[in-house]
Each structure stands twice: as C-alpha cells, then as structure tokens.
C-alpha cells in the first residue's frame, strides 16, 4: 500500500490549530500540511462516495478525487466553510457533490492528469472497500462516507501512536495493544490477559496497565486529530460523543 506524500509522523501539524483553519489560512507551509492531513483523512471516503453515490467509473472517480483536492487547495474551497452551518465533513461532502454537479452540467470531462498535482493514493485498496461494502448489501453513501472517515481517522491515529511509542520507551506497550486490539482478525477470539501475559512474559497486572495506557493514548490521539479536523468546539464535542459515546474532557 502506498503512503501519503509525507510520512505519518509528519502528517499532522504540530500546533493545536485546527486543520480546517490552517487549510483556509495564509501561511503556505501550514496550508500544505493541513491539506496533507485532509487528504489523508478524506481521500478514501471521497473516492468511495464518488463511486457509490455518483456511480462513477474507477478512472473517473480517481481523477475527480485528485481534482477535488487539487482544486480545494488552489481555489480555497475551505475558506467558505462556516462552522455555524454544518459539520466540516458534511461541508466537504457538499463541495464534492457540487464539483460533480458542475462537471456534469458543463459536460466537461477532466482529462486524466488534468494538470492537477497528483498524490499517491491507494485506489486499489479503496476498491476492495467498495467490494466489501457491496458484499454487505445496499449501503447508504452517507453511511459509507462516515464509516470510511472513522476508519481513516483511526488508521492515522494508530500510525501516529506507533510512531510515538517507537520513539519513546513504550514499544512494549504498543505491542501488547496491537496484539490485543489490532491484530486479531474477524471471527478470531482476542487473546485473554493471561495469554498476553504468557506471550510477553509479563505479569497480568502489567498487561492490563499497558492496555489501559495504550487505549487511553489512542483515544487521546484520536481526539487530538478530531479537534484539529473539526470546524468548531461544538462540532468536535458532537463528533467525539458519536465516536466514543462520551463527552471529551
């Protein structure tokens, strides 16, 4: 699977400024990094949305996904975002629909390549997601967009947490977390605390402590990213409640 243009450690802005604000701001470096984050989180939901809602063919959906983010960067789509009116992801989906409507109205097809700056995106992997969604039966495009958005958010958070743990002395904590919560495949039982303790040669208490720490850190990273990706504090809180069923601190 190909990676986004910058490694996971570099995807997120280091400041706590909202990515949404940075994407619409005047600092070119902050803008570029904010766009990297937005592409990393939203490209897959956007691509699947085009495939499912607009019934676009693979090539056309790939082109328009690239085109969408290129236009958003060049033409300042996100400057028009008003947090009072909608959640950011709803606004972004609306921009995408608007782009398609324009393209169709003008009977203008984008040439493959189209002059847009391409980033490396794993469209083949997204096609696998689409096949899985089809296998699940009819799926509302909005629900699929939301599901893929959460998946992207969590995937980036796991990568960020892994990077943080490897840089610090927390490798074992991440390994216990990965073995317990990330590795097991569907239908396979997750290892018990005792099994994890035996596998890592740790006391059971240590296993529960490591797991508690890693899960707490994972939630912290997700919430940080979520805050950065939200247009307002109200949106952030509402999204956090939906994600974890609780108000964020």
């Amino acid at each position: 699977m190909s990676s986004p243009p910058h490694g996971p450690q570099r995807v997120f802005p280091t400041t706590r400024i909202s990515v949404v604000e940075a994407a619409a701001g005047s600092d070119p470096e902050a803008r570029r990094r904010a766009f990297d984050t937005l592409v990393a989180v939203y490209w897959r939901p956007a691509y699947l949305h085009l495939r499912l809602k607009w019934n676009l063919g693979r090539e056309e959906a790939e082109d328009l996904t690239q085109e969408f983010f290129a236009r958003a960067m060049d033409r300042g789509f996100f400057e028009k975002y008003d947090p009072e009116r909608a959640r950011f992801r709803t606004f972004l989906r609306g921009c995408l629909d608007h782009l398609i409507a324009n393209v169709r109205r003008d009977e203008r097809r984008l040439k493959r390549g189209g002059g847009a700056t391409h980033v490396s995106l794993d469209f083949a992997g997204a096609e696998e997601d689409l096949a899985l969604a089809a296998a699940r039966g009819s799926e509302d495009p909005e629900a699929l967009f939301h599901r893929e958005w959460i998946r992207s958010l969590f995937t980036l958070a796991v990568d960020a947490l892994r990077a943080e743990c490897l840089e610090s002395d927390n490798r074992i904590r991440f390994e216990v977390f990965a073995r317990s919560d990330l590795d097991p495949v569907e239908g396979q039982a997750r290892p018990s605390y005792r099994e994890l303790a035996a596998e890592f040669s740790l006391p059971v208490t240590q296993v529960t402590n490591h797991l508690a720490w890693a899960r707490r850190e994972f939630r912290r990273v997700v919430l940080e990213r979520l805050r950065e990706l939200s247009g307002s504090d109200a949106e952030y809180r509402a999204e956090a409640r939906e994600l974890f069923g609780m108000d964020p601190p």
Binding site: P184, V185, Y193, A212, W213, R215, F218
Partner: protein, 323 residues
C-alpha cells in the same frame, strides 16, 4: 499505513474508554448505563463467580484527593447495611486515574419505568420505601446528593433499592454541634468537595447544590430531590385523573428554594405522604371545606353509607309502622 478492518474499528471504539481493573479478578463484560457521573458496566468476579456492577466515574472526578475522599466515603457506605441501599464491594482508581466502584448488580425496573405502569397508591408506597432508605442513610450522616428516578430500582416483589451513592457526602470525623432546631448537617465538617464543584442532576438538584454552595448541602438537599422525584413519578403514572392538590403541596414544600422552608427531614416528608395515603389532612395544605368533606367521604365512605342505609331503613320502618 495499514487499513484497519471493520471489526478492529468497532473494537477500538468500544475499548478506547474501557476500564481496565488492576489484576485479572474482574472481567468487564458490557456497558449497561451511562449517566452524568459516569458509566456503569456489568462485570464478572472470577473468584466468586458472580456478576457485579462496576461504576467508573468521569475523568473529571479523578486524582489522589478524590480517591482518598471516595475511599473514605466507601468505608462509611459499606457500613450502611439496609435492604434499600445497594452494597458497595470495593472502590479504587483505575490505571488512568478514573475512580471506580464495584457494587452489587441490581436487576429490576427503574422507578420511572415502574411509575408508568402502576396506580398512584403503589407509587406512593414505593416512594415511602425510598424515604426509609434515604432516612436511614441520613441517620448515619450520609447525604446521597444524586437522587433521581433512574437511580432507584424496584425488584420483582416491590423491593426498593437506592443506587449510586458515588457522590454521597459523609459527615466529617469531627461533627460540629448542629444549630438548635435545624437538622444535623451531614456535610458541615469534612468539607472535601471544593466550593463551586457541581455534582448532581439538573431537575433533581437543589439550588444550593446547583450553585456549588457545598456548605449548605445537608439532608434537606435530598428532601428537595425526593420532592422532585415525587412530582416526576406522580406525573408519569398512567391514570389520567387529576393530581390531588395535597400531593402537589407536599412536593412544592419539599422543593422550596430556601432549605429552611422545606421539610426538616425525610421522616417529616414521608409522614406527610403517609397522612395523604391514610386519607388524613396534610400539614402543607390548607384544605377548603368542600375538599375536606370529599376527603372525609372518601376515607369513611363505607361507614357513611352503612349509617345512611341504617337511617333510611329506620325511617322507612317508622313511616310504614305509622301507616
């Protein structure tokens, strides 16, 4: 970047907030409720092979000061042996600092659900049992502070259980002499909730609690909540006949803004409800003459009808004999 499968995403959403108890004695099974103060889980005690309830307080209620305070209070609560008070088995702090309680797992119906299916007198009898449990706690210096219908369960045989003593206040070790003529102030000493800290549930929270005036919190704070509960459950009942005005007067007085204007104790409140149930006048309500006649008729209906029947027969007998 490895794509996370659906099952992993769902699992992460579930466990990101999952409590990990120290050791492996308890297995946390599922979340069974969420309230303002925290989340309740069903857990299994592997040693005793029984299910228990685990309540994990919100992260805001964390830290060494809270832990020591709640541990101290749990010790007091553990001594509150009453059939209407849920037993606390243990209290402690999770690895992430959140405070947890292990309690008996109660199965039954919540008071608000119960009230939607029964008559007024059944509601009032259940209410009196709630008052008994709360009054018992007050007698031991404990103020609940978060009484509400969802914190009260009723078992299959009508037994009442008051839950969630997690934010209860316990009198300090050095109890000051209460001012003459006022109830013992459960929280007069041991002021360990910072002024301005607001814990409780809007709608059932007394003004002194809602404004964070912790020095004013005492058993009359629970009297206020009980008045709010009474109002809530009486209004929830399925019968659509008018609510008796003495009952309204009872909860109005229990919910007075000024604690001094409320019933001085839960015992006084339950005595009023008992008087109402027995068809006696309640002290909080000045009864108009017509209502008094109606109440007396309702209370002595059988006797009045028997006397009237006797007098009618007697009259008929005299009339017939005179013919």
């Amino acid at each position: 970047m490895r794509r996370l499968p659906d099952a992993t995403v769902a699992h992460l959403r579930r466990v990101a907030d999952w409590p990990e108890l120290p050791g492996d004695r308890y297995e946390v099974l599922e979340a069974i409720g969420q309230g303002g103060m925290g989340t309740v889980y069903r857990a299994r005690d592997r040693v005793l092979d029984r299910e228990v309830a685990l309540k994990v307080l919100r992260p805001e209620v964390a830290g060494p000061e809270w832990t020591s305070r709640l541990e101290r209070e749990a010790r007091v609560l553990a001594r509150l042996e009453h059939p209407g008070i849920v037993p606390v088995h243990d209290v402690g702090a999770l690895a992430d600092g959140r405070i947890y309680y292990l309690m008996k797992l109660i199965r039954g119906q919540r008071l608000d659900e119960f009230a939607r299916t029964v008559t007024l007198s059944e509601i009032l009898r259940a209410f009196l049992r709630i008052c008994e449990a709360v009054g018992f706690a007050h007698a031991h210096g404990v103020v609940h502070r978060d009484l509400k219908p969802s914190n009260i369960m009723l078992g299959a045989f009508g037994e009442v259980m008051v839950l969630d003593w997690g934010i209860a206040r316990v009198a300090g070790a050095v109890e000051a002499e209460p001012p003459s003529g006022t109830p013992a102030r459960a929280a007069a000493e041991g002021e360990d909730t910072a002024p301005g800290t607001v814990l409780g549930t809007p709608g059932f929270m007394a003004p002194e609690q809602a404004t964070g005036a912790v020095h004013l919190v005492d058993e009359r704070t629970d009297v206020f909540a009980l008045g709010a509960i009474l109002r809530s459950v009486v209004n929830a009942r399925p019968e659509d006949n008018p609510i008796p005005r003495p009952l309204v007067a009872i909860w109005d007085r229990a919910m007075a803004q000024d604690p001094a204007a409320r019933y001085a104790s839960v015992g006084d409140l339950s005595a009023e409800v008992t008087r109402f149930l027995d068809g006696l006048p309640v002290h909080s309500y000045r009864e108009p003459a017509l209502e008094r006649v109606a109440r007396l008729y309702g209370k002595y209906q059988t006797a009045i009808l028997l006397v009237l029947a006797y007098l009618t027969m007697r009259l008929l007998f005299l009339v017939l004999r005179g013919l």
